[in-house]
């Protein structure tokens, strides 16, 4: 009896060793010419870098899972003792016992409506004018491009004061419209540059061929240029969306009432109450960050092509 189990154990451990060896070989797959030592060193460095990149993010998750009485601890584990979802529940649905309502969805709605409108608007504006900059030669073209680049030298904080005064004069403080105005075109100049660079890489022959076949400028733009530049457009949209989505400083100046808050302002109310509720703050952060991060990581394969083909190769 014992011999058979021994044999079975041996077989399975051999199998395991085989699997492990296979995994190691697969994981440390190396190019010709690299010594094993070098390969291991490279992987070790990368793994350490990954840990540094990911661990602080995971800590937020940890804090959000802690029960309220053990928030302050020197524990470094990722899943804490007595993990609980209470913080999430309170953030999402309020706390009837303490008669507190949840503003979480309100903040999300405010952010989402403002930021999606501004990013769609700025991508459309940029896509159209970038086409003109890329395909037409007209007086003032390079002056315009340089001018757009120069606007990027203006610190965002610098325009904030006049914009604030202007928005106050238009009586748009505490309304989504005020923030919409403040966000609307900050991303446009750079987006025009990026998209112009991307359009430049699309051969003009394609359009000329289509025009000979009787297409006009509009159909050329919608049927050739736009589909071919989807990655760049997605990147532009993503950048301007991410920029506005987590923006704090401008929003703080323009929105002062809780009903009008976007989520970055909103989650700060957790950190500014009498008792700082880090647990709820972290829970809210996790719920907001996860969809954005998934979107971001999912599109990371486009990110590289979009970024380098765009602003860079001119």
């Amino acid at each position: 009896m014992s011999t058979t189990t021994d044999a079975a154990n041996k077989v399975s451990s051999a199998k395991q060793a085989n699997v492990v060896a296979h995994f190691i070989r697969w994981f440390f797959y190396r190019a010709r010419g690299d010594s094993p030592f070098k390969t291991i060193l490279i992987h070790a460095t990368l793994i350490v870098a990954c840990i540094i990149a990911v661990y602080p993010v995971l800590r937020v998750v940890t804090i959000s899972l802690r029960p309220n009485d053990t928030l302050l601890t020197t524990d470094l584990r990722i899943i804490p003792e007595n993990a609980t979802l209470d913080n999430y529940k309170e953030v999402l649905f309020g706390n009837p016992e303490r008669n507190r309502k949840s503003d979480f969805f309100l903040w999300l709605w405010n952010s989402l409506s403002i930021v999606s409108i501004t990013s769609v608007l700025s991508v459309i504006l940029a896509a159209i004018s970038a086409y003109a900059f890329s395909r037409f030669k007209f007086p003032g073209r390079s002056a315009g491009l340089i001018f757009l680049l120069t606007t990027q030298m203006i610190p965002a904080g610098m325009l904030l004061l006049p914009l604030f005064i202007m928005i106050a004069k238009l009586k748009m403080i505490n309304t989504p419209l005020g923030l919409l105005i403040a966000y609307a075109v900050t991303a446009v100049p750079l987006t025009i540059w990026t998209l112009k660079g991307y359009y430049d890489t699309i051969p003009v022959d394609l359009e000329e061929a289509a025009m000979i076949d009787g297409a006009n400028r509009f159909t050329v733009f919608t049927n050739i240029i736009l589909p071919l530049s989807t990655p760049a457009l997605a990147i532009a949209f993503l950048f301007s969306f991410m920029g506005g989505w987590s923006e704090y400083l401008v929003a703080r100046v323009i929105l002062q009432k809780n009903e009008a808050f976007t989520w970055p302002l909103g989650i700060f109310t957790y950190a500014q109450q009498f008792t700082v509720s880090w647990g709820q703050f972290s829970a809210a952060s996790v719920m907001i960050a996860i969809p954005v991060m998934i979107l971001f990581l999912y599109s990371s394969k486009w990110l590289i092509s979009g970024l380098t083909l765009g602003s860079v190769k001119g």
């Binding site: 990368l46 309502k101 007209f138 610098m158 004061l161 960050a289 971001f296 380098t308 860079v312």
Partner: protein, 500 residues
């Protein structure tokens, strides 16, 4: 085969719809029992949708009208001399009206004041007339107070369209070489003009004023060169926010920018070079490494602020552990000459740090945070650049006997230049201006010892309400950045080709 293709083609969209419906129903059934605890409700959603939608509609409509106007200027030609006069007159009147509206808008935001004289009243007349028209509509019961604005705008638009129609009928089409290009860049250009250039001009005006909380911002502010001089003098001799001096803050900003950009570029370059080789798990590494970039900055900064807590933060926990470990070793090696002393010394000097109270460590804490946040972006950009370099160069160099360092120096760096130049310029400008991390982690404290120029400026404006001074401050910052960019471009010769 055909069928299979169809399935393949429509399956993703069907799946998406199914997923969306499922999400909707689960959310609905999950949230419905808790609606009492949630402040968002259907009414708020409808209201804000209406507000935003109306605004968007107005903007797009206005842009369309302007586009039509310019389209007719570029692409329509009067049929004969008689229509020529009519068309030009109509277009001239429209342009004048538009100009007057713009001028009165600028006045209403306090860019300048025209006073109560003939010129002022004349320039303001279109807007006043529009207001009168609205009240007339209300008085004659054509519209209620709420709908007056909508109705009158609608009538205005119809009138404009009628004018455009008249022009269209009495003209024939013609070709224009640049017309289309101008029409295409017009909307973005107007946006930039209105939301970047106009505030910029306004800022210059403010810089020469004594606007502050006492003058109710621009309402009672006085303007003049002497105020500008006063602001400039305060900037260089007085305090920039509360106590800090300009030069101190300036040097701190330079150090902040240099350290950040150096670490971003070298760290990014290092990671990119490590990643840029055949690896089975490259995608996984890349995904994990861009985490700091993917997480919203606000959350990342707040999370890091937590980690710099003196007792419960990650950094001090690790430093305490390290200290304990070093002390243990120093006890064990106390007898060995040299090494024992070394470990005793290390144990005495490496330990938990007061990140919040000590200005130096507070500055280090924001540096660590910003470096952590910024490396992935550079890594991704440089990796993209590296992947576009053909492997053949390296093979050729290898055959010629070039060492790895020589390859890096003579192939990688020159070929990366088109990627690196703009990335470094933008990196410098962004870092110079980036203070959300500072504001969220240390708020410039302790005693404004971690403020950089832009964060001081933000404080001067929105904590101390020194508007005129802030505007001058902002101008100086802009000039510094502008000079930097000019010099850098002159030296590196970059971007020259990009604008051609």
């Amino acid at each position: 085969m055909e069928n299979e293709n169809k399935v393949r083609r429509y399956l993703p969209s069907v799946l998406w719809i199914v997923v969306l419906i499922a999400v909707y129903f689960t959310l609905n059934s999950l949230i419905a029992p808790f609606t009492d605890g949630i402040t968002l409700n259907g009414k708020i959603v409808t209201e804000s949708t209406k507000q935003l939608g109306g605004f968007l509609f107005g903007i797009i409509g206005g842009l369309m009208l302007i586009e039509i106007y310019f389209y007719q200027i570029f692409f329509r030609k009067p049929k004969n001399d008689a229509t020529n006069i009519i068309i030009r007159a109509l277009q001239f009147i429209l342009a004048a009206l538009l100009l007057m509206v713009v001028i009165s808008f600028l006045e209403s935001t306090d860019l300048f004041r025209m006073g109560d004289n003939i010129v002022g009243n004349f320039l303001r007349s279109p807007v006043t007339m529009f207001g009168d028209f609205q009240s007339m509509l209300v008085n004659t019961k054509i519209a209620t107070k709420d709908s007056a604005q909508l109705t009158s705008s609608g009538i205005m638009v119809l009138a404009l369209l009628a004018i455009f129609a008249v022009i269209h009928i009495s003209s024939v089409s013609r070709n224009h070489n640049y017309g289309l290009a101008y029409l295409l860049i017009l909307p973005a250009f107007l946006g930039v003009l209105f939301l970047i250039i106009y505030p910029f001009l306004f800022e210059i005006k403010l810089a020469f004023s004594n606007a502050s909380l006492g003058t109710q911002a621009t309402k009672n502010a006085a303007y003049g060169l002497q105020y500008g001089w006063e602001n400039l003098k305060t900037l260089f001799t007085g305090s920039v926010a509360k106590d800090a001096k300009f030069l101190d803050v300036f040097w701190r900003t330079v150090i902040w920018t240099v350290i950040n950009v150096t670490f971003h570029v070298s760290g990014g370059m290092g990671l990119a070079i490590l990643l840029n080789r055949p690896m089975k798990v490259q995608g996984l590494y890349r995904t994990l490494l861009v985490f700091p970039w993917a997480i919203p900055t606000t959350i990342a900064a707040m999370a890091l602020r937590n980690e710099f807590d003196s007792r419960y933060g990650l950094f001090n926990i690790l430093l305490t552990d390290l200290n304990t470990w070093l002390t243990g070793i120093s006890h064990g090696t106390a007898n060995i000459v040299g090494i024992g002393n070394l470990f005793t010394w290390l144990a005495a000097h490496i330990g938990p740090v007061s990140w919040k109270q000590d200005p130096f460590w507070a500055f280090v804490s924001i540096l660590i945070s910003n470096i952590w946040l910024g490396i992935p972006f550079m890594a991704v950009i440089i990796l993209g650049g590296l992947q576009s370099i053909s492997q053949e160069y390296y093979e050729a160099a290898e055959i010629d006997g070039a060492s790895k360092f020589q390859q890096f120096r003579n192939i990688t760096i020159p070929l990366l230049r088109p990627v690196l130049t703009p990335a470094i310029i933008l990196g410098v400008v962004w870092t110079f201006n980036k203070f959300d991390v500072i504001y969220l982690i240390t708020q410039g404290g302790p005693q404004e010892k971690t403020d950089i120029l832009v964060s001081s400026m933000y404080k001067a404006a929105f904590q101390f309400y020194r508007y005129g001074f802030t505007a001058m401050f902002a101008l100086v910052i802009f000039i510094i950045l502008f000079l930097f960019t000019l010099i850098y471009l002159r030296i590196s010769g970059g971007l020259k080709s990009a604008a051609e």
